[in-house]
Symmetry: C6
Subunit: 231 residues, 6 copies
Amino acid sequence: MERIVAGLEKKNRLLIPKERRIVAYHELGHAIVAMALPGQDPVHKVSIIPRGIGALGYTIQRPTEDRFLMTQDELQNRMAVLLGGRAAEYIFFHHLSTGAADDLVKATDTARSMVLRYGMDKKLGHVAYERERQPMFVTPGSQGWHAREFSDETERLMDHAVRDLVGHAFDRAIEILNAHRPVHEKTAQLLLQKETLEEEDIKALRAQIVPADATEAMPEKPAAAASAGHA
Amino acid sequence: MERIVAGLEKKNRLLIPKERRIVAYHELGHAIVAMALPGQDPVHKVSIIPRGIGALGYTIQRPTEDRFLMTQDELQNRMAVLLGGRAAEYIFFHHLSTGAADDLVKATDTARSMVLRYGMDKKLGHVAYERERQPMFVTPGSQGWHAREFSDETERLMDHAVRDLVGHAFDRAIEILNAHRPVHEKTAQLLLQKETLEEEDIKALRAQIVPADATEAMPEKPAAAASAGHA
Amino acid sequence: MERIVAGLEKKNRLLIPKERRIVAYHELGHAIVAMALPGQDPVHKVSIIPRGIGALGYTIQRPTEDRFLMTQDELQNRMAVLLGGRAAEYIFFHHLSTGAADDLVKATDTARSMVLRYGMDKKLGHVAYERERQPMFVTPGSQGWHAREFSDETERLMDHAVRDLVGHAFDRAIEILNAHRPVHEKTAQLLLQKETLEEEDIKALRAQIVPADATEAMPEKPAAAASAGHA
Amino acid sequence: MERIVAGLEKKNRLLIPKERRIVAYHELGHAIVAMALPGQDPVHKVSIIPRGIGALGYTIQRPTEDRFLMTQDELQNRMAVLLGGRAAEYIFFHHLSTGAADDLVKATDTARSMVLRYGMDKKLGHVAYERERQPMFVTPGSQGWHAREFSDETERLMDHAVRDLVGHAFDRAIEILNAHRPVHEKTAQLLLQKETLEEEDIKALRAQIVPADATEAMPEKPAAAASAGHA
Amino acid sequence: MERIVAGLEKKNRLLIPKERRIVAYHELGHAIVAMALPGQDPVHKVSIIPRGIGALGYTIQRPTEDRFLMTQDELQNRMAVLLGGRAAEYIFFHHLSTGAADDLVKATDTARSMVLRYGMDKKLGHVAYERERQPMFVTPGSQGWHAREFSDETERLMDHAVRDLVGHAFDRAIEILNAHRPVHEKTAQLLLQKETLEEEDIKALRAQIVPADATEAMPEKPAAAASAGHA
Amino acid sequence: MERIVAGLEKKNRLLIPKERRIVAYHELGHAIVAMALPGQDPVHKVSIIPRGIGALGYTIQRPTEDRFLMTQDELQNRMAVLLGGRAAEYIFFHHLSTGAADDLVKATDTARSMVLRYGMDKKLGHVAYERERQPMFVTPGSQGWHAREFSDETERLMDHAVRDLVGHAFDRAIEILNAHRPVHEKTAQLLLQKETLEEEDIKALRAQIVPADATEAMPEKPAAAASAGHA
């Protein structure tokens, strides 16, 4: 089960050179952030050959093992990977573009789940504001319940928490990519030339990435195990 | 009618060692809090063998007698049991994970019922803001009524009350587990080895648990029976 | 047409002794408050034999005459009767329990009707915020209208008015039961022994109840008939 | 086309003497206020014989001519007539009862139409916030639009305006009935005796009613025709 | 394609003399304001013969040419024409009546379109808050979008803007009619006598109307074309 | 795939001379702003011959290459082109008219997508508040989610952001058109005479347009690539 981290939106086939360059830097943005952060599935392939119905390029991560639990840190790092493409565009082209729309959706969904389902925001507490979005839960009767069973104040706290989580992840991605600009640029040239980076090139790239110290991004490490947490 | 207190989410079968350890500590978290608090059904089994469709492990409590009434204290203690798994992860692994999502849903539901159906919050009074969630009540016509028959101010008070109840329960669980760290760690080793703890092991564990003094958690014990309560 | 005032929730048959005692005090709480307040239908039977699908015990009131009008005082007294069971649990067992859930629903419905349909709250005026909840009114088109045809400020005033009415009724019940503790305890012993109190026992109980002076609970008695009321 | 102004709620047939007295004073309250205010259809009959499905008594007004326009003053006077029954209960029995529920609905509907459809509130201006409640307007698509096409601030202004209009009408009714207490009491005795007052009795009653000076209740009479009104 | 500007509500046929007089002044109110303001379709007929299902009288305007664009001034003047009937009732009868309900609906719709669809309110900007109300837009899916795709603050600004536009239009109508009282009264006598005014009478009336200076009502005329407008 | 930028609303065929002039200036407003701003598809045709069902005139832009990504600057410039017609009416006729309604819808949609889907507003962050409006997303279940999954505070921020973006675009259009008044007027005369401008005329017009310096309108160009952006 390989996971395609991201992919710029695509409606047709042939990209103009400028867009092709943007896609190359964007995809490598995902790849480099994924390599720099712990707990992320290893990158196997980076490509700027349009694929499927929506992607101008893609980056494939393949898990080394089945996982059933995700910690708060791993989810935050995953958001940074998702925003790595947009961060790359921002650093190398000084713009925000429509190409990251799907990445924003995925990062937002992750942040919302952290806040609404996994009780990972201090102010909102260990409360489940939403049940799992499984079809069996979405009966007409229960539908209204999910949408509005909290006050506007709580909804505002959720919005702030989601914005903070996503903003923090974007900052992390910017920070990591700024630390790897030369290798990013060099590898982008290679990607534009070869169109797809496979095992060997990926391995070479990974060798040049300095792992980010993930610990300083951890918001919740207790000073002492005896402390009572964030309730 | 045995009750399965909790169970970490599961999608597949084989856990990696680190996750297996987390599950062991998590399940024992439920068990130890249940043993330390009065009014909770006795624990009969603790297992880290995945079971059914959603659980990575499970803890079984079996009531000694049929019960028809639950007091405020018993409901609060039940929430502490439900959050015992998350509290264990927090103490021993310094993280919050997605594994406690279902526990949060159950604890939140309990807290909401206390506040909305059982009139157990001082500020919100002896008022029923919600009827029993029985199918016969969920007719299309009455549906909208349930969802919104109070002001945003009241909804805000509910959110605060629910967050306080759940947060308090988590603190209680942390407190109890901190007081039993050595036995928790020792029994986790045993559980990882045997995969399931049955009668004898459970009995040995229970013998080492110091009952928590539940009274200090009681928010509503009247100073004198003559006082008029929280209205 | 006898009216069953209340009844603790029941799912099965056999109660443990502690719950049986709670039910006895709870039912007598209804009965004693009903006897102490004017305008309430006379009590005919009090029983702790589970009955029907939802009741752990029951108290039967039978009207002496058909009534077509209810005054504000009578409705307030009726709420005190409904909360008499919970008040008894609070006085004799120092707890709030889930057993009063149905009583809370009925008391809340009464308070809401006073405020929304009968114009009995000073701040909300002689305004009908809700029509009678008859099936013929609940057509899909009119449904939305009922739910939201007032501002959040008005909804907040309603919530405060309902909480005050219910809280006041609970205080009245506490006050009445505190004044009759010895007879309550003595009769509870009898009820636990006989399981049902019929005519003779009820008559003996009634003889010992001092009627509460209902007038001080009347919020609306005009100083002079010439005053213009609460508009 | 005779119009039945009001009628206390009824579920069955035989009233107890106290309720019968209340009904008599209530119905005469409607009749006397209708006689004292200009622009109201003449009263033709007052009865305490229960009638139809919902009324404990009734008062019949019959228009002398077809009318197609109603002015603000006439609508305000009509609300006072509608609340005349409740005002009578308040003056003679010092209570508010459930018997006026239907009168409140009608008075509230009148006030809401004045505010939402006829542009008769200064703060809310000459704006139509609601179209005529004709079936042809209540298509599913347009439904949502009607219910919410204004802000919460506007909804709050509407609530205040409706409460003021209804409260003012109640005060007017109290004022008029206080000025006619002796004839009200005397005629109530007659009504209790005869059960129905027809032409002769009505005529005699009318002769004793001093018309209220309606002008002081007019909120909108322009100081000079040249002024620009309430926009 | 003649346009019937307004028409008082009608349910039946025969009006009493007082209502007939009100209708005459009301209809002439529409006609005189239409004649006094530029950009309004010429009046062709004024009648107090009830017509169709809803009108007690009517005024017919017939455009001299097909128009595809309406400017802000023309829309504001059209609202003044719509409120001309109510303004006439206010000036000559010192009342507000139910007869103008349909005029209020049309004036409100015009004001809402100016604010929500045509970007003609300074504070709300050149933003389309609503699409054209064409059937093809009202698919169930898009319905919810229209109703609520802005905040309560924006909805409040809309309410204020609509109230201001309608209030301003009413003031304009009052101002114009006050300046033409003698001719209004004289022509009303004629209309009551003849029941319908056709070409000759209309022409005579028009000759006596002094055109209002529309320019001072223009809220948006830029001081210099170089200024950047209201964004 | 040619793109018709705008078109004044039309219901019929024959325009009066004044409206014809407005349409000519309006369409040239679109064309001139499109020519002055970078990243906009080249203009191929400008016409005042009514076309299709809704347009009084039209301006055709034809892309020189397929594009898959749009940057923030390009979207802002596109909004200025869309509002170029209204800006021309404002400069040359000193009015706002109903003719720009469809342009406002398109500009508003663009601004909303920038804010809600592309994360291009600083205060609202890199968050996706809305998924792509594809039919497959508009299932009944997901519908409610889209409409309300943020607080009123967030909705207010969105409204402000959209108003600012649209207002800024209008100011840009005004600025550009003010700088090209003589050529605008001269070309309008030509357009009124020929009714349609094709290749040669367009080329001549383009030669006279001074490109606007787009950079000063860029709100997001980072001072240094190392800065962390707007999170």
